[in-house]
């Protein structure tokens, strides 16, 4: 087991290194430069002075070498456009994305498993169709569109929730205020993530319900609900767990757009701002951090997977 984890960690490091190579060279292909230097009113002289300050007069390969060298020592460089260490920016933004992501993930999982179970129990009944309608809608409506509609409805018309941001000024410690800000973005994100969980739960439950031990239980005359919860549910958790790994990746992707809609200061918005402003060190940092989280979550999911289902052996 230890050697398995070790091997996965090494693999993860290699993956992250490849991510850094791909991201670094791709983003340097983009025309333009850091927006602080390449801006509309900047004269050639001012621009060159700034690019030189950032060390952008050196060849790309040299710059990558330097970046990698300091990155392995834990120094991700300084943002060109914000003048702050990249590590600090990431430290400020990651918790926000994790809060949003976790809230959305929990909501999506709980609701997803619930709806998936309802659908499986009522297979092909009207409840099944209702659930499938909800999930298919969740997969079919652009998240940002849902966000805008939610803002108009809940913020502008009903005035229940704030339209944007993470916390009101002067209320940094106010949990209710934070939850109010969290409600819409997390809800919208959860709605777009839920379909995966519902589908996997439903089909896993149906698959398990055909398994021998469930048939036996049913043969003994137990009620379908009891059979489902006593026997099928635990086994069905395995594939649901597996899907969580995938959902985490989707979560990061989804948060990029949702964070922009709701002005949520997370990693996704940081990445957009950095890409638009050609803030090379920040793009790299944000992408790597997102990759790291995904790698770690996947590893954890695989380990949990093994714990829940002893049949799975990692050589």
């Amino acid at each position: 087991m230890t050697s398995y984890i070790l091997r996965r960690l090494v693999l993860g490091a290699v993956v992250l290194w490849l991510v850094s190579v791909v991201t670094f060279f791709l983003i340097h292909l983009a025309p333009g430069g850091p927006s602080s230097a390449v801006s509309f009113e900047r004269t050639a002289e001012e621009r060159e002075a700034l690019l030189k300050q950032f060390g952008l007069d050196e060849p790309v390969v040299v710059r990558y070498g330097k970046w990698l060298l300091s990155a392995v020592q834990g120094d991700l460089g300084v943002s060109y456009n914000q003048g702050l260490p990249v590590a600090l920016l990431l430290k400020q933004r990651l918790p926000n994305t994790l809060t949003l992501g976790l809230a959305a993930l929990v909501t999506a999982t709980v609701l997803g498993i619930l709806l998936g179970t309802v659908a499986a129990v009522n297979r092909n009944g009207w409840l099944d169709h209702v659930v499938s309608t909800i999930t298919t809608l969740g997969m079919s409506i652009p998240g940002f569109w849902l966000g805008i509609v939610a803002i108009i409805l809940f913020a502008v018309e009903l005035r229940w929730l704030p339209a944007s941001g993470i916390v009101s000024s002067g209320k940094a410690g106010d949990l209710v205020d934070r939850l109010k800000h969290l409600a819409m973005p997390a809800g919208v994100l959860a709605f777009t993530l839920m379909p995966n969980v519902v589908r996997v739960t439903r089909s896993a439950l149906l698959e398990v319900s055909r398994a021998d031990f469930v048939r036996t239980a049913r043969g003994k005359g137990l009620a379908p609900g009891t059979v489902l919860f006593k026997h099928a549910f635990k086994n069905a958790l395995v594939p649901v767990l597996a899907v969580l790994g995938l959902v985490t990746t989707a979560l990061f992707s989804g948060s990029v757009v949702i964070e922009s809609v709701f002005g949520w200061p997370g990693l996704g918005r940081l990445a957009i701002e950095a890409a638009n402003g050609r803030d090379y060190p920040v793009i790299l940092g944000a992408t790597l951090l997102a990759g790291l989280v995904v790698v770690v979550v996947n590893l954890l999911v695989d380990l949990l997977y093994a714990a829940v289902d002893p049949r799975i052996r990692h050589e």
């Binding site: 993860g12 791909v22 499938s132 079919s140 409506i141 652009p142």
Partner: protein, 295 residues
């Protein structure tokens, strides 16, 4: 038993199996009325956006600053947008772009994914290790971060958007195809075909592909919907298909500022995106049920 007889017998067995499958297949199709409706909707949509302009000849990009945000009229059946352009013509033009992006991106993703997953699953060994590690890399970068970087790097030319969105899901595709290949590879008739001296490409195409195809078709159908949504998301961030070319995504993005003034501008493209993606998803799910009745 000579090799020829064995081969004939093998084919016969395969054919029988397929015939039986086909019969069951149609029975199952009949049990998926929603899927059939979705398919009809998609065919109608495609006909409308590709053939519609032959009937409705108003130019989609013709601006007219003196006739902006007009209500529907005989000249403009759905009215005009913020630059005096004909909304119906743009919905049709945008549909061509959005559907093309969706379909082509899916083809790109499917092609790369099938090739990579197929090679890895068929040959195993070193090929598999390299390909599947690459898949891991791509799965580890949250799609949108990757797409963001690529589109920023190469600009928003439609081809870039298509390829990028396609690349966005090749890895997922490769993983599924790989798993199917590994499974199918062990089937007796595949091993038999190899033993009878069929070449690698022939074995893959003739014997393995048909087994993998159903899964791929399901993924493809869901993939088109995903690609259309992704383009819309990119458009929201200003990174999708760019004006003057219309896409449902960038129409929706433009309409945002006019929500108070003329909400219809947002409703049309939004509705078309939702209906199209919904149809592809319903179709995909139906196909999944048809191919895999246990679900």
């Amino acid at each position: 038993m000579s090799d020829a007889t064995a081969s004939a017998l093998l084919h016969e067995a395969e054919d029988d199996a397929r015939k039986a499958q086909r019969g069951r297949f149609w029975r199952r199709v009949r049990r998926q009325p929603l899927g059939v409706i979705a398919l009809i909707v998609l065919v109608l949509l495609a006909a409308a956006v590709w053939l519609g302009p032959l009937v409705y000849r108003t130019a989609p990009n013709r601006t007219d600053a003196r006739n902006i945000l007009k209500a529907p009229s005989a000249a403009h059946l759905l009215g005009t947008d913020e630059l005096g352009r004909d909304v119906l013509a743009r919905v049709l033009a945008g549909g061509r772009v959005s559907l093309s992006v969706g379909l082509l991106a899916m083809v790109v993703g499917l092609a790369i994914g099938m090739l990579a997953g197929g090679l890895a699953g068929y040959f195993r060994g070193r090929v598999e290790v390299v390909v599947m590690r690459l898949v891991d890399v791509f799965m580890a970068i949250p799609n949108f971060f990757l797409i963001l970087v690529v589109v920023t790097a190469f600009g928003n030319h439609p081809v870039t958007v298509i390829v990028t969105v396609g690349i966005g899901f090749w890895a997922q595709m490769a993983r599924v195809v790989h798993a199917e290949f590994v499974k199918v590879r062990g089937f007796e008739f595949v091993e038999a075909a190899r033993a009878l001296g069929a070449t690698h490409p022939r074995t893959m195409l003739r014997h393995v592909m048909p087994q993998v195809a159903p899964q791929a078709i399901v993924l493809a159908s869901l993939g088109v919907g995903w690609a259309i949504l992704t383009e819309a998301g990119l458009s929201y961030l200003g990174l999708g298909i760019q004006p003057p070319l219309a896409s449902w995504g960038n129409m929706l993005q433009n309409a945002q500022s006019y929500l108070w003034l003329k909400p219809e501008l947002a409703i049309y493209p939004g509705l078309f995106i939702a209906v199209t993606v919904l149809a592809f998803n319903v179709l995909g799910n139906a196909l999944r049920d048809v191919f895999d009745p246990r679900g």
